[in-house]
């Protein structure tokens, strides 16, 4: 009963004309921000904060605008992943793996609609989860110490094998490269600098957005230049646009499973949407009977990461609202906004400021429908991008990349670094080494290392500390299975096929 009352309060706030139009504006802006490479949800939201102040919005309205932008960006990231093979933001990275091949087969429209629907499923169910379970789920964070986090990241890396490449060794090389890059910067436990060459710009490490734009967008431009436009990945076939009901129904369980995986990853502070979409993709791949289509445009490979990352985005709001712990870059910005608006997130926020929390939840539910309506019929307009000749499109991509990266820190050094990553990405592509594991290494490597070292500090260097809770042991077992199972499965599956 209380829930219905709360919801009524929330919808009472959300359904005013101002709030509703803010949500719609936020969704549109967010979709654009998400789709542009280099401009992810976190800097998108940060850039728009002054707007909220200039418009003199009250707390709920400001929050509504910003979270609509956040959700919009999570939807929008997939668009450039599918159409250009350039992830619009880091959680959309996994969508390039099957989304782009699908577009290349002439099913760009289908991929966009399918991923839009799975984004909706993920985000909608995650919002429901936030509504029903937030106060309980907040407690989960208390059970995750350094040892448990280390095991969680280990699980991610153990399931990496063979991603984006037939050759596991190449994936492994790519991961190691990423892990190495993640070590650059000041080491927080000792205050020592590592691999910085004394350069102040590298003290905080390499921003993954710089790496992602370099490895994907800039590389794409290099490939285009090298082949004088002949060999560019850009220029996929449009395909006819209709709603692929068959695919949507076929992937319904995929979406549900991915939502659950993504939501859990989102709730854990520090894991976030990237890990959510990654684990959703990998778990779907490991459950599938026929794996060989993954990476070549499998519909499950499109639906899973999108449901996963959107669910994680909703999940990440749980620790932000109930603990004040931002689970991702974007929630860190939202947290700042809350503090500025004199709202202190914490275990009592749901009781103390119900109008803020329930207004937000109601708006998120509405924003999801807005985004679905915005994204599915507008696929036609998005796919128009494909009709732009690559020789016009790519300079635009280059410009957006440079402006986006410059806006991160206002430093030309990041631009040089981005070009450096472009060269690296070009080399990797020539060697047929996938770039996605490099990014994952950069994104998660730092967290993994820090967790391990904290665990060692706490236990006085006793390794058994890593296995001292049921959660960590469970994660270790899952990681072990994830690592070993494919080796046996592969030899088992290969038996019937004679070589040659």
């Amino acid at each position: 009963m209380e829930l219905i009352q709360n919801l009524a309060l929330g919808f009472g706030i959300a359904l005013t004309l101002t709030t509703l139009s803010l949500a719609i504006v936020g969704c549109i802006l967010g979709t654009i921000i998400g789709a542009l490479p280099g401009l992810g949800p976190s800097n998108g939201v940060a850039i728009l904060i002054p707007l909220a102040f200039t418009l003199e919005l009250d707390a709920t309205q400001a929050l509504v605008l910003m979270t609509s932008v956040y959700y919009g960006a999570m939807y929008g990231g997939r668009i450039s992943s599918i159409l250009l093979n350039i992830p619009g933001d880091e959680p959309a990275m996994m969508t390039t793996l099957d989304g782009y091949p699908m577009a290349k087969k002439g099913r760009a429209g289908d991929a966009l609609v399918l991923s839009g629907v799975s984004s909706f499923v993920g985000a909608f169910l995650a919002t429901i989860g936030l509504m029903l379970l937030a106060p309980i789920l907040a407690r989960v964070a208390f059970y995750f110490g350094p040892a448990e986090y280390f095991a969680l990241y280990l699980l991610a890396f153990c399931t990496l094998g063979g991603i984006g490449s037939e050759n596991q060794a190449k994936s492994a090389i790519a991961v190691c490269l990423g892990l190495g890059i993640s070590m650059i910067g000041v080491d927080n436990s000792t205050g020592m600098t590592r691999f910085t060459g004394g350069n102040l710009h590298l003290y905080d490490g390499v921003d993954f957005l710089v790496a992602i734009v370099g490895l994907f967008a800039v590389t794409e431009i290099f490939v285009f230049i090298e082949s004088r436009g002949k060999d560019s990945a850009i220029g996929v076939k449009l395909g006819k646009i209709s709603i692929p009901f068959k695919d949507i129904i076929a992937t319904r369980w995929t979406m549900l499973r991915a939502t659950i995986v993504g939501f859990i990853a989102g709730v854990l502070p520090g894991a976030g949407a990237s890990l959510g979409s990654f684990l959703a993709y990998m778990s779907e791949k490991s459950l599938a009977k026929e794996k060989k289509f993954f990476g070549t445009g499998d519909i499950r490979g499109v639906a899973a990461p999108e449901a996963g990352n959107n669910a994680a985005a909703g999940g990440a709001l749980v620790p932000m609202l109930t603990l004040g712990v931002p689970g991702s870059g974007t929630t860190a910005v939202l947290l700042a906004l809350l503090m500025t608006l004199n709202i202190t997130p914490g275990p009592l926020l749901f009781n103390e400021r119900p109008e803020v929390v329930w207004g937000l939840i109601a708006t998120l539910l509405i924003a999801n429908f807005v985004l679905l309506i915005l994204n599915v019929p507008l696929v036609k307009i998005f796919t128009k991008i494909l009709q732009v000749p690559a020789s016009f499109l790519l300079p635009g991509v280059a410009m957006v990349s440079f402006v986006g990266i410059y806006s991160l820190s206002g430093s030309y050094f990041d631009l040089l670094l981005m070009i450096g990553f472009g060269v690296l990405g070009f080399t990797l592509r020539k060697l047929k080494i996938p770039a996605v594991p490099v990014i994952l290494g950069i994104l998660l490597g730092g967290h993994m290392e820090v967790s391990l070292r904290r665990a060692m500090v706490l236990s006085n260097g006793d390794w058994t500390y890593l296995f001292n809770s049921y959660i960590s042991v469970g994660l270790w077992i899952a990681a072990f299975i994830g690592f070993v199972a494919p080796i046996f499965l592969r030899s088992y599956l290969k038996k019937p096929t004679p070589i040659g």
């Binding site: 654009i32 976190s42 002054p50 635009g396 957006v400």
Partner: protein, 321 residues
């Protein structure tokens, strides 16, 4: 042709957001959004404009890097004569300058404008912890340092870490290499580790723990202030418990060294007005900040004094050569 324009329109949109020129002045928060410096810039500039202390909205730019060193270098090298620039600073800025962590740059390369609030340092334990006061905890740490870790939001050797070591120093404990400290991502994260039972206590600022105090998840053993914090009168100070340590994280601003005296005066006036405004008092209350008003030249003197103290301590503690 229209399609061409369309593909560029998206890019132009970004350019517009990135280079919004609605603002005549700028406040640099030398960190990513979400932290104390970001709060300083956003709250102070908002109030400055709202109460008319400054005549236009002030743009907030985030320039993360090098623990604030990147922004410091940027101001010193590229914006040294900019009259329309303020930069957020805190005790962490002074600590790092004192520890020579901004690759050779020194405190006298900028002008400290003032601080109008301070986040009192606190030591916090979980509600079910056996330690009821600061002495209980410190005695336990001294007796068995290997099994009593502290979690804090700053890196090893940072301000949160130093606070604990200062307190232990007052108890005559000097074997500081044995004190276990893990630096996590901010106060809230340090709290979850402590409430979860992974560390014995948390060292941080009160603003980061307000929500948890209200919910009853934690117990604050001591605040490192001269007097009890307004609004939190039931928290005893460390001083009352015989441990004479005062450590507050002040929230303030600095300006470029080469900016004109007129602009320095204009900014100090504006900051003073914000410090006296009821809006700021409300913001301080909501965020657990204690009054701390030092604006203008005497603030510069204060910073220099604190830096000497930190420097002596860091050398004594071995976190700096």
């Amino acid at each position: 042709m229209i399609k061409k324009i369309k593909s560029f329109a998206a890019g132009l949109l970004v350019t517009f957001f990135a280079a919004t020129s609605l603002f005549s002045a700028e406040c640099i928060a030398p960190a990513n959004p979400g932290g104390g410096w970001d709060f300083t810039c956003r709250t102070i500039t908002k109030i400055m404009y709202d109460i008319g202390a400054y005549d236009s909205p002030i743009q907030v730019t985030n320039m993360a890097g090098g623990g604030g060193g990147l922004a410091y270098g940027h101001v010193v090298n590229e914006r040294n004569t900019d009259d329309n620039l303020i930069v957020a600073a805190s005790s962490a800025t002074a600590t790092r300058l004192a520890q020579n962590a901004y690759s050779g740059m020194t405190y006298d390369q900028v002008r400290f404008l003032g601080a109008i609030g301070a986040d009192p340092g606190v030591i916090v334990v979980a509600a079910d912890s056996p330690y009821k006061n600061l002495n209980d905890l410190l005695d336990a740490v001294i007796a068995d340092p290997a099994n009593h870790a502290f979690a804090g939001g700053s890196a090893a050797g940072g301000f949160d870490h130093l606070k604990v070591l200062m307190a232990l120093g007052k108890k005559g404990f000097t074997d500081i290499a044995k004190v276990k400290y893990i630096g996590v991502d901010g106060d809230a994260d340090a709290i979850t580790q402590t409430v979860g039972g992974f560390t014995a206590a948390m060292t941080g600022d009160i603003s980061g723990v307000v929500g948890f105090i209200k919910s009853g998840d934690v117990r604050v053993l001591a605040s490192f202030t001269d007097e009890r914090i307004p609004g939190f009168e039931d928290i005893p100070t460390a001083k009352e418990q015989g441990i004479d340590v005062v450590a507050v994280n002040w929230r303030g601003l600095y300006t470029p060294k080469g900016a004109s005296d007129a602009s320095y005066k204009k900014w100090t006036e504006a900051l003073r007005k914000v410090g006296d405004s009821p809006e700021w008092k409300k913001a301080m209350e909501a965020n657990g900040l204690a009054p701390f008003n030092k604006v203008g030249p005497n603030f510069q003197d204060y910073v220099v004094g604190v830096m000497a103290e930190v420097q002596a301590l860091s050398k004594e503690l071995g976190v700096m050569k």
